[in-house]
Symmetry: C3
Subunit: 150 residues, 3 copies
Amino acid sequence: MIHHFENHDLVTEHGSQLVDVTGELFAAVERADVTNGMALVYSPHTTCAIVINEHESGFIDDFNELLSDLAPEADRYYRHDDMDIRTEGLDDDDLHPNGWSHARAGLLSSSSQSIPIVDRKLMLGRWQRVFFCELDRSRSRKVFIQVIGE
Amino acid sequence: MIHHFENHDLVTEHGSQLVDVTGELFAAVERADVTNGMALVYSPHTTCAIVINEHESGFIDDFNELLSDLAPEADRYYRHDDMDIRTEGLDDDDLHPNGWSHARAGLLSSSSQSIPIVDRKLMLGRWQRVFFCELDRSRSRKVFIQVIGE
Amino acid sequence: MIHHFENHDLVTEHGSQLVDVTGELFAAVERADVTNGMALVYSPHTTCAIVINEHESGFIDDFNELLSDLAPEADRYYRHDDMDIRTEGLDDDDLHPNGWSHARAGLLSSSSQSIPIVDRKLMLGRWQRVFFCELDRSRSRKVFIQVIGE
Protein backbone atom coordinates (compact mmCIF):
# COMPACT_ATOMS: atom_id res chain seq x y z
CA MET A 1 0.00 0.00 0.00
CA ILE A 2 1.26 3.45 -0.88
CA HIS A 3 0.51 6.24 1.58
CA HIS A 4 1.14 9.89 0.84
CA PHE A 5 0.21 12.83 3.05
CA GLU A 6 0.58 16.59 2.63
CA ASN A 7 -0.43 19.55 4.72
CA HIS A 8 -1.03 22.82 2.93
CA ASP A 9 -1.06 25.96 5.06
CA LEU A 10 -3.17 28.82 3.85
CA VAL A 11 -4.51 32.12 5.13
CA THR A 12 -8.05 32.85 4.07
CA GLU A 13 -8.54 36.45 3.01
CA HIS A 14 -12.12 36.98 4.14
CA GLY A 15 -15.16 35.19 5.46
CA SER A 16 -17.09 32.97 3.06
CA GLN A 17 -14.03 32.54 0.84
CA LEU A 18 -13.94 29.41 -1.30
CA VAL A 19 -10.29 28.56 -1.93
CA ASP A 20 -9.83 26.35 -4.97
CA VAL A 21 -7.33 23.63 -3.95
CA THR A 22 -7.77 21.47 -7.06
CA GLY A 23 -4.30 22.34 -8.40
CA GLU A 24 -2.67 21.31 -5.11
CA LEU A 25 -4.73 18.10 -5.17
CA PHE A 26 -3.65 17.12 -8.68
CA ALA A 27 -0.02 17.84 -7.77
CA ALA A 28 -0.28 15.75 -4.60
CA VAL A 29 -1.77 12.82 -6.52
CA GLU A 30 1.08 13.01 -9.00
CA ARG A 31 3.67 13.08 -6.20
CA ALA A 32 1.94 10.12 -4.52
CA ASP A 33 2.67 8.04 -7.62
CA VAL A 34 -0.38 5.82 -7.13
CA THR A 35 -1.97 3.80 -9.94
CA ASN A 36 -5.27 3.04 -8.22
CA GLY A 37 -6.63 4.33 -4.94
CA MET A 38 -8.33 7.38 -3.50
CA ALA A 39 -7.60 10.92 -2.41
CA LEU A 40 -9.01 12.36 0.81
CA VAL A 41 -9.11 16.16 1.15
CA TYR A 42 -9.61 16.97 4.84
CA SER A 43 -10.17 20.13 6.89
CA PRO A 44 -9.01 19.88 10.54
CA HIS A 45 -11.17 22.88 11.51
CA THR A 46 -14.65 23.23 13.03
CA THR A 47 -15.70 26.28 11.02
CA CYS A 48 -14.70 25.17 7.52
CA ALA A 49 -15.86 22.66 4.94
CA ILE A 50 -14.52 20.88 1.86
CA VAL A 51 -16.94 21.23 -1.04
CA ILE A 52 -16.88 20.00 -4.64
CA ASN A 53 -18.65 22.18 -7.18
CA GLU A 54 -18.06 24.36 -10.26
CA HIS A 55 -15.49 27.17 -10.10
CA GLU A 56 -17.78 29.95 -11.25
CA SER A 57 -18.06 33.25 -9.40
CA GLY A 58 -21.85 33.36 -9.69
CA PHE A 59 -22.21 29.99 -7.98
CA ILE A 60 -19.76 31.00 -5.23
CA ASP A 61 -21.84 34.09 -4.43
CA ASP A 62 -25.11 32.12 -4.66
CA PHE A 63 -23.75 29.50 -2.28
CA ASN A 64 -22.65 32.05 0.30
CA GLU A 65 -25.94 33.89 0.02
CA LEU A 66 -27.83 30.66 0.64
CA LEU A 67 -25.73 29.92 3.74
CA SER A 68 -26.33 33.50 4.92
CA ASP A 69 -30.07 33.07 4.53
CA LEU A 70 -30.14 29.75 6.37
CA ALA A 71 -27.68 30.60 9.17
CA PRO A 72 -27.25 34.38 9.19
CA GLU A 73 -24.29 36.07 10.88
CA ALA A 74 -26.46 38.93 12.18
CA ASP A 75 -30.05 38.89 13.48
CA ARG A 76 -29.87 35.36 14.87
CA TYR A 77 -28.88 34.38 18.40
CA TYR A 78 -26.21 31.70 18.81
CA ARG A 79 -25.60 30.29 22.29
CA HIS A 80 -22.06 29.43 21.23
CA ASP A 81 -21.22 33.15 21.18
CA ASP A 82 -21.72 33.40 24.94
CA MET A 83 -19.18 30.62 25.40
CA ASP A 84 -16.36 32.25 23.46
CA ILE A 85 -16.19 35.15 25.87
CA ARG A 86 -16.04 32.93 28.94
CA THR A 87 -13.65 30.21 27.81
CA GLU A 88 -9.98 30.27 28.76
CA GLY A 89 -7.00 29.23 26.73
CA LEU A 90 -8.12 30.29 23.30
CA ASP A 91 -5.97 31.72 20.56
CA ASP A 92 -6.73 35.28 19.55
CA ASP A 93 -8.22 33.78 16.43
CA ASP A 94 -10.90 32.12 18.53
CA LEU A 95 -11.84 35.16 20.60
CA HIS A 96 -14.70 36.38 18.49
CA PRO A 97 -18.32 35.33 18.15
CA ASN A 98 -18.58 32.69 15.43
CA GLY A 99 -21.65 30.67 16.34
CA TRP A 100 -22.92 31.27 12.81
CA SER A 101 -19.72 29.69 11.41
CA HIS A 102 -20.18 26.55 13.52
CA ALA A 103 -23.84 26.37 12.52
CA ARG A 104 -22.96 26.54 8.81
CA ALA A 105 -20.20 23.94 9.25
CA GLY A 106 -22.72 21.70 11.03
CA LEU A 107 -25.27 22.13 8.27
CA LEU A 108 -22.77 21.24 5.53
CA SER A 109 -21.09 18.53 7.66
CA SER A 110 -18.37 18.14 5.04
CA SER A 111 -15.03 17.99 6.81
CA SER A 112 -13.71 15.98 3.87
CA GLN A 113 -14.26 14.79 0.32
CA SER A 114 -13.03 11.50 -1.16
CA ILE A 115 -12.23 11.13 -4.87
CA PRO A 116 -11.28 7.91 -6.68
CA ILE A 117 -7.95 7.53 -8.51
CA VAL A 118 -8.02 5.07 -11.44
CA ASP A 119 -5.15 4.32 -13.83
CA ARG A 120 -3.22 7.27 -12.39
CA LYS A 121 -6.13 9.63 -13.07
CA LEU A 122 -7.99 11.59 -10.38
CA MET A 123 -11.60 10.97 -11.35
CA LEU A 124 -12.99 14.48 -10.88
CA GLY A 125 -15.72 15.28 -13.37
CA ARG A 126 -15.30 17.89 -16.12
CA TRP A 127 -16.73 20.75 -14.06
CA GLN A 128 -15.74 19.57 -10.59
CA ARG A 129 -13.28 21.59 -8.54
CA VAL A 130 -12.43 21.06 -4.88
CA PHE A 131 -12.84 24.03 -2.55
CA PHE A 132 -11.65 24.73 0.98
CA CYS A 133 -14.54 26.81 2.36
CA GLU A 134 -13.83 29.44 4.98
CA LEU A 135 -17.05 29.69 6.99
CA ASP A 136 -15.53 32.04 9.59
CA ARG A 137 -13.60 35.29 9.04
CA SER A 138 -10.01 35.47 7.69
CA ARG A 139 -7.85 32.95 9.58
CA SER A 140 -4.76 30.73 9.32
CA ARG A 141 -5.87 27.33 8.10
CA LYS A 142 -4.60 23.91 7.10
CA VAL A 143 -5.89 21.56 4.45
CA PHE A 144 -4.75 17.94 4.48
CA ILE A 145 -4.41 15.88 1.30
CA GLN A 146 -4.01 12.15 1.78
CA VAL A 147 -3.56 9.60 -1.00
CA ILE A 148 -3.91 5.87 -0.37
CA GLY A 149 -3.48 3.21 -3.02
CA GLU A 150 -1.04 1.01 -4.82
CA MET B 1 -4.59 -4.50 -2.13
CA ILE B 2 -7.55 -5.24 -4.35
CA HIS B 3 -8.91 -2.36 -6.43
CA HIS B 4 -12.13 -2.54 -8.40
CA PHE B 5 -13.77 0.28 -10.33
CA GLU B 6 -16.99 0.53 -12.32
CA ASN B 7 -18.72 3.34 -14.13
CA HIS B 8 -22.47 3.10 -14.54
CA ASP B 9 -24.08 5.34 -17.16
CA LEU B 10 -27.62 6.42 -16.53
CA VAL B 11 -30.10 8.93 -17.88
CA THR B 12 -32.20 10.60 -15.24
CA GLU B 13 -35.84 10.91 -16.21
CA HIS B 14 -36.71 14.16 -14.52
CA GLY B 15 -35.41 16.74 -12.07
CA SER B 16 -35.27 15.79 -8.40
CA GLN B 17 -35.14 12.08 -9.28
CA LEU B 18 -33.53 9.79 -6.70
CA VAL B 19 -32.13 6.78 -8.55
CA ASP B 20 -31.62 3.78 -6.27
CA VAL B 21 -28.19 2.35 -7.13
CA THR B 22 -28.01 -0.11 -4.22
CA GLY B 23 -28.43 -3.13 -6.47
CA GLU B 24 -25.54 -2.02 -8.70
CA LEU B 25 -23.48 -1.40 -5.57
CA PHE B 26 -24.04 -4.89 -4.12
CA ALA B 27 -23.22 -6.43 -7.52
CA ALA B 28 -20.02 -4.38 -7.80
CA VAL B 29 -18.91 -5.40 -4.30
CA GLU B 30 -19.47 -9.05 -5.21
CA ARG B 31 -17.47 -8.67 -8.44
CA ALA B 32 -14.68 -6.95 -6.50
CA ASP B 33 -14.23 -10.12 -4.46
CA VAL B 34 -13.00 -8.25 -1.40
CA THR B 35 -13.11 -9.68 2.13
CA ASN B 36 -12.56 -6.43 4.03
CA GLY B 37 -12.42 -2.89 2.74
CA MET B 38 -14.71 -0.09 1.69
CA ALA B 39 -16.94 0.99 -1.18
CA LEU B 40 -16.98 4.55 -2.48
CA VAL B 41 -19.99 5.66 -4.52
CA TYR B 42 -19.03 8.85 -6.35
CA SER B 43 -20.83 11.37 -8.57
CA PRO B 44 -18.55 13.23 -11.03
CA HIS B 45 -21.17 15.98 -11.51
CA THR B 46 -21.65 19.42 -9.95
CA THR B 47 -25.46 19.28 -9.80
CA CYS B 48 -25.94 15.83 -8.26
CA ALA B 49 -25.44 14.17 -4.90
CA ILE B 50 -25.05 10.69 -3.45
CA VAL B 51 -27.41 10.22 -0.51
CA ILE B 52 -28.11 7.28 1.83
CA ASN B 53 -31.63 7.03 3.20
CA GLU B 54 -34.77 4.86 3.15
CA HIS B 55 -36.33 3.91 -0.19
CA GLU B 56 -39.83 5.14 0.57
CA SER B 57 -41.75 7.36 -1.83
CA GLY B 58 -43.03 9.63 0.94
CA PHE B 59 -39.49 10.42 2.09
CA ILE B 60 -38.34 11.04 -1.48
CA ASP B 61 -41.10 13.62 -1.98
CA ASP B 62 -40.46 15.17 1.46
CA PHE B 63 -36.75 15.48 0.69
CA ASN B 64 -37.33 17.18 -2.65
CA GLU B 65 -39.89 19.51 -1.12
CA LEU B 66 -37.42 20.51 1.58
CA LEU B 67 -34.75 21.24 -1.05
CA SER B 68 -37.31 23.25 -3.02
CA ASP B 69 -38.17 25.31 0.05
CA LEU B 70 -34.52 26.00 0.90
CA ALA B 71 -33.22 26.62 -2.63
CA PRO B 72 -36.24 27.14 -4.89
CA GLU B 73 -36.02 26.82 -8.66
CA ALA B 74 -38.37 29.77 -9.21
CA ASP B 75 -38.70 33.04 -7.30
CA ARG B 76 -35.03 33.21 -6.28
CA TYR B 77 -32.25 34.94 -8.19
CA TYR B 78 -29.08 32.94 -8.90
CA ARG B 79 -26.08 34.79 -10.29
CA HIS B 80 -24.89 31.54 -11.84
CA ASP B 81 -27.76 31.73 -14.33
CA ASP B 82 -26.29 34.84 -15.92
CA MET B 83 -23.07 32.94 -16.52
CA ASP B 84 -24.59 30.04 -18.42
CA ILE B 85 -25.74 32.30 -21.21
CA ARG B 86 -22.33 33.97 -21.62
CA THR B 87 -19.97 31.00 -21.37
CA GLU B 88 -18.56 29.32 -24.47
CA GLY B 89 -17.88 25.69 -25.09
CA LEU B 90 -20.74 24.14 -23.19
CA ASP B 91 -22.68 21.03 -24.11
CA ASP B 92 -26.34 21.55 -24.95
CA ASP B 93 -27.03 19.94 -21.60
CA ASP B 94 -25.38 22.86 -19.85
CA LEU B 95 -27.16 25.62 -21.75
CA HIS B 96 -30.00 26.21 -19.32
CA PRO B 97 -30.26 28.09 -16.05
CA ASN B 98 -29.45 25.71 -13.19
CA GLY B 99 -28.18 27.96 -10.41
CA TRP B 100 -30.72 26.33 -8.11
CA SER B 101 -29.21 22.90 -8.89
CA HIS B 102 -25.70 24.07 -7.98
CA ALA B 103 -27.04 25.68 -4.80
CA ARG B 104 -28.72 22.44 -3.71
CA ALA B 105 -25.60 20.42 -4.56
CA GLY B 106 -23.56 22.88 -2.47
CA LEU B 107 -25.96 22.62 0.45
CA LEU B 108 -25.83 18.80 0.46
CA SER B 109 -22.09 18.70 -0.38
CA SER B 110 -22.30 14.94 -0.82
CA SER B 111 -20.41 14.03 -3.97
CA SER B 112 -19.81 10.61 -2.47
CA GLN B 113 -20.67 8.12 0.24
CA SER B 114 -18.31 5.55 1.77
CA ILE B 115 -19.57 2.25 3.19
CA PRO B 116 -17.50 -0.38 5.05
CA ILE B 117 -17.15 -3.96 3.76
CA VAL B 118 -16.53 -6.56 6.49
CA ASP B 119 -16.29 -10.35 6.01
CA ARG B 120 -17.51 -9.94 2.43
CA LYS B 121 -20.61 -8.04 3.60
CA LEU B 122 -21.45 -4.46 2.61
CA MET B 123 -22.40 -2.96 5.97
CA LEU B 124 -25.46 -0.97 4.90
CA GLY B 125 -28.08 -0.83 7.65
CA ARG B 126 -31.46 -2.59 7.34
CA TRP B 127 -33.24 0.47 5.89
CA GLN B 128 -30.32 2.10 4.12
CA ARG B 129 -30.33 2.42 0.35
CA VAL B 130 -27.89 4.44 -1.77
CA PHE B 131 -29.34 7.04 -4.12
CA PHE B 132 -27.92 8.98 -7.03
CA CYS B 133 -29.76 12.31 -6.72
CA GLU B 134 -30.49 14.31 -9.83
CA LEU B 135 -30.60 17.93 -8.66
CA ASP B 136 -30.88 19.33 -12.19
CA ARG B 137 -33.34 18.34 -14.96
CA SER B 138 -33.16 15.07 -16.95
CA ARG B 139 -29.57 14.52 -18.10
CA SER B 140 -27.02 11.85 -19.03
CA ARG B 141 -25.07 10.97 -15.90
CA LYS B 142 -22.34 8.69 -14.57
CA VAL B 143 -22.03 7.10 -11.17
CA PHE B 144 -18.69 5.63 -10.13
CA ILE B 145 -18.41 2.67 -7.77
CA GLN B 146 -14.97 1.96 -6.37
CA VAL B 147 -14.06 -0.90 -4.04
CA ILE B 148 -10.74 -0.99 -2.18
CA GLY B 149 -9.69 -3.75 0.19
CA GLU B 150 -8.07 -7.14 0.46
CA MET C 1 -3.14 -3.98 4.47
CA ILE C 2 -4.43 -3.85 8.03
CA HIS C 3 -8.20 -3.90 8.51
CA HIS C 4 -9.87 -3.29 11.86
CA PHE C 5 -13.60 -3.02 12.48
CA GLU C 6 -15.64 -2.33 15.61
CA ASN C 7 -19.33 -1.94 16.25
CA HIS C 8 -20.35 0.15 19.23
CA ASP C 9 -23.91 -0.25 20.49
CA LEU C 10 -25.48 2.72 22.15
CA VAL C 11 -28.90 3.89 23.28
CA THR C 12 -29.60 7.52 22.64
CA GLU C 13 -31.33 9.23 25.53
CA HIS C 14 -33.44 11.74 23.65
CA GLY C 15 -34.05 13.22 20.23
CA SER C 16 -31.44 15.60 18.85
CA GLN C 17 -28.75 14.10 21.08
CA LEU C 18 -25.17 14.45 19.87
CA VAL C 19 -23.17 11.56 21.32
CA ASP C 20 -19.43 12.29 21.39
CA VAL C 21 -17.72 9.12 20.11
CA THR C 22 -14.22 10.61 19.84
CA GLY C 23 -12.90 8.59 22.78
CA GLU C 24 -14.11 5.34 21.22
CA LEU C 25 -12.56 6.40 17.93
CA PHE C 26 -9.13 7.11 19.43
CA ALA C 27 -9.23 3.76 21.28
CA ALA C 28 -10.22 1.91 18.08
CA VAL C 29 -7.37 3.53 16.13
CA GLU C 30 -4.93 2.47 18.85
CA ARG C 31 -6.25 -1.11 18.81
CA ALA C 32 -6.00 -1.14 14.99
CA ASP C 33 -2.24 -0.61 15.31
CA VAL C 34 -1.98 1.20 12.00
CA THR C 35 0.88 3.55 11.12
CA ASN C 36 -0.76 5.27 8.14
CA GLY C 37 -4.29 4.98 6.85
CA MET C 38 -7.75 6.29 7.53
CA ALA C 39 -10.63 5.87 9.95
CA LEU C 40 -14.24 5.69 8.78
CA VAL C 41 -16.97 6.40 11.33
CA TYR C 42 -20.25 5.10 9.90
CA SER C 43 -23.90 5.18 10.95
CA PRO C 44 -26.02 2.28 9.57
CA HIS C 45 -29.24 4.21 10.24
CA THR C 46 -31.50 6.40 8.07
CA THR C 47 -32.35 8.95 10.77
CA CYS C 48 -28.87 9.66 12.15
CA ALA C 49 -25.72 11.44 11.00
CA ILE C 50 -22.02 11.52 11.82
CA VAL C 51 -20.85 15.10 12.32
CA ILE C 52 -17.48 16.65 13.19
CA ASN C 53 -17.57 19.88 15.17
CA GLU C 54 -16.66 21.42 18.53
CA HIS C 55 -17.90 19.79 21.74
CA GLU C 56 -19.51 22.87 23.23
CA SER C 57 -23.04 22.85 24.60
CA GLY C 58 -23.96 26.17 23.00
CA PHE C 59 -23.07 24.89 19.54
CA ILE C 60 -25.00 21.66 20.12
CA ASP C 61 -28.14 23.63 20.98
CA ASP C 62 -27.60 26.04 18.09
CA PHE C 63 -27.21 23.14 15.68
CA ASN C 64 -30.40 21.43 16.82
CA GLU C 65 -32.30 24.71 16.70
CA LEU C 66 -31.15 25.29 13.13
CA LEU C 67 -32.29 21.79 12.11
CA SER C 68 -35.62 22.43 13.86
CA ASP C 69 -36.08 25.66 11.94
CA LEU C 70 -35.23 24.08 8.58
CA ALA C 71 -37.12 20.77 9.04
CA PRO C 72 -39.47 21.20 12.01
CA GLU C 73 -40.95 18.23 13.85
CA ALA C 74 -44.31 19.99 14.27
CA ASP C 75 -46.20 22.27 11.89
CA ARG C 76 -44.86 20.68 8.73
CA TYR C 77 -46.44 17.83 6.80
CA TYR C 78 -44.25 14.84 5.91
CA ARG C 79 -45.66 12.25 3.50
CA HIS C 80 -43.39 9.66 5.08
CA ASP C 81 -45.52 9.76 8.24
CA ASP C 82 -48.48 8.30 6.36
CA MET C 83 -46.32 5.35 5.34
CA ASP C 84 -45.20 4.39 8.84
CA ILE C 85 -48.75 3.60 9.89
CA ARG C 86 -49.43 1.41 6.87
CA THR C 87 -46.21 -0.58 6.57
CA GLU C 88 -45.91 -4.14 7.91
CA GLY C 89 -42.99 -5.81 9.58
CA LEU C 90 -41.58 -2.87 11.48
CA ASP C 91 -39.98 -2.91 14.92
CA ASP C 92 -41.82 -1.01 17.63
CA ASP C 93 -39.03 1.52 17.26
CA ASP C 94 -40.20 2.32 13.76
CA LEU C 95 -43.89 2.69 14.54
CA HIS C 96 -43.94 6.43 15.06
CA PRO C 97 -43.99 9.37 12.68
CA ASN C 98 -40.42 10.41 11.94
CA GLY C 99 -40.60 12.10 8.56
CA TRP C 100 -38.83 15.10 10.08
CA SER C 101 -35.93 12.81 11.13
CA HIS C 102 -35.52 11.44 7.60
CA ALA C 103 -35.69 14.97 6.19
CA ARG C 104 -32.92 16.17 8.53
CA ALA C 105 -30.80 13.11 7.76
CA GLY C 106 -31.29 13.82 4.05
CA LEU C 107 -30.31 17.45 4.46
CA LEU C 108 -27.10 16.59 6.33
CA SER C 109 -26.39 13.53 4.14
CA SER C 110 -23.54 12.53 6.43
CA SER C 111 -23.78 8.81 7.08
CA SER C 112 -20.04 8.80 7.67
CA GLN C 113 -16.90 10.83 8.25
CA SER C 114 -13.38 9.87 7.16
CA ILE C 115 -10.29 11.04 9.06
CA PRO C 116 -6.65 10.48 8.03
CA ILE C 117 -4.20 8.58 10.26
CA VAL C 118 -0.55 9.62 9.84
CA ASP C 119 2.42 8.30 11.84
CA ARG C 120 0.02 6.58 14.24
CA LYS C 121 -1.84 9.85 14.88
CA LEU C 122 -5.51 10.42 14.13
CA MET C 123 -5.41 13.80 12.40
CA LEU C 124 -8.42 15.45 14.05
CA GLY C 125 -7.91 19.17 14.54
CA ARG C 126 -7.54 20.77 17.95
CA TRP C 127 -11.26 21.51 18.38
CA GLN C 128 -12.66 18.66 16.32
CA ARG C 129 -14.76 15.99 17.98
CA VAL C 130 -16.78 13.29 16.23
CA PHE C 131 -20.48 13.05 17.07
CA PHE C 132 -23.10 10.40 16.46
CA CYS C 133 -26.23 12.53 15.92
CA GLU C 134 -29.61 11.15 16.91
CA LEU C 135 -32.07 12.84 14.56
CA ASP C 136 -35.02 10.74 15.75
CA ARG C 137 -36.20 10.12 19.34
CA SER C 138 -34.39 7.85 21.85
CA ARG C 139 -33.51 4.56 20.13
CA SER C 140 -31.04 1.65 20.13
CA ARG C 141 -28.27 2.49 17.71
CA LYS C 142 -24.99 1.22 16.29
CA VAL C 143 -21.93 3.16 15.24
CA PHE C 144 -19.30 1.44 13.13
CA ILE C 145 -15.62 2.36 13.31
CA GLN C 146 -13.42 0.99 10.56
CA VAL C 147 -9.66 1.51 10.25
CA ILE C 148 -7.78 0.70 7.06
CA GLY C 149 -4.05 1.16 6.61
CA GLU C 150 -0.67 -0.42 7.05
